[in-house]
Amino acid sequence: MNLAFAMTAASPALLSIWLLPLVGAIVIWTLGPQLRRNAGYLGSAFVLVSFALALANFGAAGNATGLRAPLVTWGPGFAFGLQLDALSLLWTLVITGVGGLIHIYSIGYMWTDRAIARFFAYLNFFVFSMLTLVLADNVVGLLVGWGLVGLASYFLIGFWFYKPTAVAAARKAFVINVFGDIGIMFAIFACYAATGSIAFSDIFAKAGTFSEPLVLAICIGLFIGAMAKSAQVPLHTWLPDAMEGPTPVSALIHAATMVTAGVYLIARFAPLWNLSPTAQEMVAVVGAITMVTGAILGMAQWDIKRILACSTMSQIGYMIMGVGVGAYQAGVLHFFTHAFFKAQLFLGAGLIIHALGDEQDVRKMGGLYRKMPFTFAAMLTGTLAIIGFPFFSGFYSKDAIIYEALEHGHPILFFAGALTAGITAYYMFRMLFVTFFGSYRGDVPDAMLAIAPPVPGAYAAHDDGHVEHAPTWLMQAPVAVLMVPTVIAGYLTIGGESSPWYRYFGTLFGHGGNVAGVPLAIPEWASTIFVLVLVTLGIVVAYLRYGNPPALIGAVDRLRGEALKMPPVLAHAFYVDALIATAIVRPANALGGAISRYVDPHVIDAGVRDVAWVAGMLGALFRALQTGLVRAYALTIVVGAACFIAYFAYLGTAR
């Protein structure tokens, strides 16, 4: 029984990058109670070492083969291993880099929480799962990572498990993720049936020979997985609810890394997607729809974290649309930049929430720029980056996607992209003005601001009082560090095709090529100007509604008016949740109830009970025959004898 891993051929660096976070998770879980706070330092250390190793191997991953580590083989065609090529290295760097910063930030954020050790064990486990997902060299390994990441997000969303809302949100997230898993499983079966192996190299080598419907089927399967994980419509409902988890979790998982797994999946299977234009079309359209829906929902939220969650949904819509139209470099670039500025926005929001004693509703904030200048600066840079303000990272990646959509012959998507950029600008600045300008509304009674009373038992204070505060630098340092890439991350793509970004990926994605129709004859700078016009329009509208002096003074009644007049469609997020509940959840429970209450006891058991009853009756009947009277017995015997004699008489004469 050789269960030992095939260590020899593996490169030790790749294995240690992969296993360090797992070791961290196990160590922290077992030694949890003793460690308490320094569990945070330990956890961050493990992730940052992994990050350093990944950086060290930057060169090695660049060349074609990259690092390889075959692990274990289940059977014919089921060989598992790790690989580090350009795409997975980028993701690894972001996961361990941004992850490490968020670990440090979490030390401060969770300073007073009793279960801080368990939190860091889960965070390390999450990093390990995400690394499994991106480092796998085969599709089943990818699915293993996919499932483990879903599990880690389940643990972290439901971290404060005594909150029923958190528990429900965690379960919803996990079940929708499993729904995505079965999509990928279907793709695995199709690939294995066609190629006899699960390794990416074999699949892509034989990709040419696949029939058109088969490629489409595989792509649909994969995309279902991507939709669930990257919260695309209609499987997006879990993302806003996932904000029940602690803010660092939202930053790391539901902003920077996990939700972008769908983008990674499509990028990884680029050779397959290029073969099927209809699949690409489908991906692009769904991406666009999610982009627009996310933006519209973003306008209607009052919880600061839900605004950012909806904006994440919208930005991922951008990335999916980007890879959907074939602009892989642009899509991945937007993932790269988005990881930084969205993490920064979330951590900024975390600072606000931490400072205001866990208050998350923007209507209770206001006028914070005077008291928290550093946070204001961080949030401002983040906002400028996300709306695509020139010379900020978002500008380069977002405009690239919008233009590539046009260049690849999708005029409708081009306009959708541009419009969403405008709406993004509007709701981001709406958040800025409401939170940082005007006067502080913390002490205004909820009723005045039309805030619904919290659900009973929904939220129990978790930390036992502010015994002592974490050093503020511990939380602000990561945000400061993140500000740098938020600004300069876009500069990597200056220089078009020959820029370091495009050279880095080389021919990994093959050539997207023009997909449909003849491109409109407008140059790139024209589309950029058009987008900027829409963005400034968005900012102006936001300023008029929330920013100008009269609005700031009458903020309380304005906000109350807006909250009351909020259209129900938006308030219930297009009723998607209700739709899923009535269409799937309720009938399943009803059917299950019918089965266990009616079919089993009455239909099936009844049969057996009747047979047993009949046997019992017969038994009683024979008992009744025994009357005890001698003459009755004699009669029975004589009757029996008569039958015998009759038979033998017939027999005798017949012979």
Binding site: G619, Q626, V630, A634, T636, I637, V638, Y647, A649
Partner: protein, 481 residues
């Protein structure tokens, strides 16, 4: 015309064939004498001891006759392998019944009872070798008459009633049997079974005669239409007598049936004659087990179970195949051990007055006497035909012989019967192991006698060994000179 000399045509070899039967009969006399001589206290022990010694001696003597079969008294009594095997079974049953009787019954009657039991055993041994009508009739009547008295010999209320019922019904059946013999004799002109093989003078007479003969036999085997007497008599009679009766009457009658079916019937026509017997056997399997479902008294339950078990054994004879007979004999042996084992456990549970045959006396036995409960479970497993017991192997053999002889419908009915019987037997297992629902009747086991325990142990070991190593007697084809 010379004066008729008194020439006894029989040589010493003829008498040698009957020696085992004589030894048993004489032992009965010795028991009566021993009962007279020994002091009151020692009387029961002495009687049982003498009885068992006599039986064992007879058993050993019978075994010596194994290799060389002889037809004594001009074919009246054929002492071959077939007869010896049945005689051994009868002796074993008698020994175990004596072991059981040690714990029961009134002091003063033990001498007479044991003597009667030995005489009925010798009657059964006579039937085992009977090869002509007279010996058969003599054997059956000797067996039955002794049993009528035995049934009555107990102060229990039902005893005398069961004796009366048994007498009236059994005599009626003997009447049918005798009338059948008369017709057979009339049709063939001879009383020897061997004479029936050649075509009879008038086939009508022969068939009706054979029919009535079989009625008598089926009554004794308590097969279904003729089984009505069995439950009442088994319940009424004292426990050791019931145990003895449940095996010995069936063993002897089975020997007669086998000899009649295998050797005495003209082959082509024989099958048609025996067909009603196979049908009756099938009926017994089903009715026996179903009726057992509703029983609460253990002796009645074992009565119905005996009916069903005999159904299995006769089913094995179906088609009168050679291996069918051998497996029937093996299953009879297994039946003897498991049945007597079960009766021995009931004997251990009974106190002087009321016998422990009520189901309630088994409540919670699993905790009070785990070993006894284990033994009882083992016997019930065997009766139900579940592994690893002799019953299981026996049932497999019978299934195989029935299927091979072409009676697949009989095999299927056998499985159905077994399925029903499991519920009946496992009611007792449930009673033993169920959490003490009703108040457990403190039924102390009679400490004094170690003999019933020996009987339980012997039966259990036999059932286990036979289960794994079925010793099937080989050359037992019944010889009819």
């Amino acid at each position: 015309m010379n004066t008729p000399q008194l020439v006894i045509p029989y040589v010493s070899a003829d008498y040698a064939a009957l020696v085992p039967t004589f030894v048993v009969a004489v032992t009965a006399l010795v028991v009566i004498v021993a009962d007279l001589l020994t002091p009151k206290k020692m009387r029961r022990a002495a009687n049982v001891a003498v009885g068992i010694i006599g039986l064992i001696a007879a058993g050993v003597l019978a075994l010596q006759g194994w290799g060389h079969p002889i037809a004594a008294f001009g074919g009246a009594f054929v002492n071959g392998g077939f007869a010896i095997v049945f005689q051994e079974i009868v002796i074993v049953a008698a020994v175990f019944s004596l072991l059981m009787s040690y714990a029961l019954g009134r002091e003063d009657q033990s001498g007479g009872a044991i003597a009667l039991m030995l005489w009925s055993a010798s009657g059964a041994m006579l039937m085992a070798g009977a090869a002509n009508l007279m010996t058969v009739f003599l054997g059956i009547e000797l067996l039955s008459l002794a049993l009528y008295c035995l049934c009555a010999m107990s102060s229990r209320p039902g005893a005398r009633e069961s004796a009366l019922k048994y007498l009236i019904l059994s005599s009626t059946a003997s009447g049918f049997l005798l009338y059948g013999m008369a017709l057979l004799f009339g049709a063939t002109g001879s009383v020897a079974l061997s004479a029936f093989a050649n075509p009879p003078a008038s086939s009508a007479l022969f068939d009706i005669g054979a029919g009535m003969f079989l009625i008598g036999i089926c009554f004794k085997l308590s097969l279904v239409p003729f089984h009505v007497w069995t439950p009442d008599v088994y319940e009424g009679a004292p426990l050791p007598v019931t145990a003895f009766m449940s095996v010995v009457t069936k063993a002897g009658t089975l020997a007669v049936l086998a000899r009649f079916a295998y050797a005495a019937l003209p082959s082509p026509h024989g099958a048609a004659i025996m067909l009603p017997v196979w049908i009756v056997a099938a009926l017994s399997m089903i009715v026996g087990n179903v009726a057992a479902l509703a029983q609460t008294d253990l002796k009645r339950l074992l009565a119905y179970s005996g009916i069903a078990q005999l159904g299995y054994i006769v089913a094995s004879l179906a088609g009168t195949t050679a291996f069918g007979l051998r497996y029937a004999i093996f299953y009879l042996g297994a039946y003897t051990f498991m049945n007597l084992g079960a009766f021995a456990v009931v004997a251990l549970l009974s106190r002087d007055r009321d016998e422990g045959s009520q189901l309630t006396s088994f409540n919670g036995l699993g905790y009070r006497q785990p070993i006894l409960a284990g033994a009882m479970t083992f016997f019930l497993l065997s009766l139900a035909g579940l592994p690893p017991t002799a019953g299981f192997t026996g049932k497999i053999l019978i299934l195989a012989s029935a299927v091979n002889a072409g009676f697949v419908w009989l095999a299927a009915l056998l499985v159905v019967g077994t399925a029903i019987s499991v519920y009946a037997y496992f009611k007792i297992v449930r009673a033993m192991y169920a959490q003490t629902t009703g108040a457990p009747i403190r039924r102390a086991v009679v400490p004094a006698s170690a003999l019933p325990w020996a009987c339980v142990a012997l039966c259990a070991v036999a059932t286990l060994v036979l289960g794994f190593y079925p010793i099937v007697p080989s050359d037992v084809l019944p010889l009819v000179k």
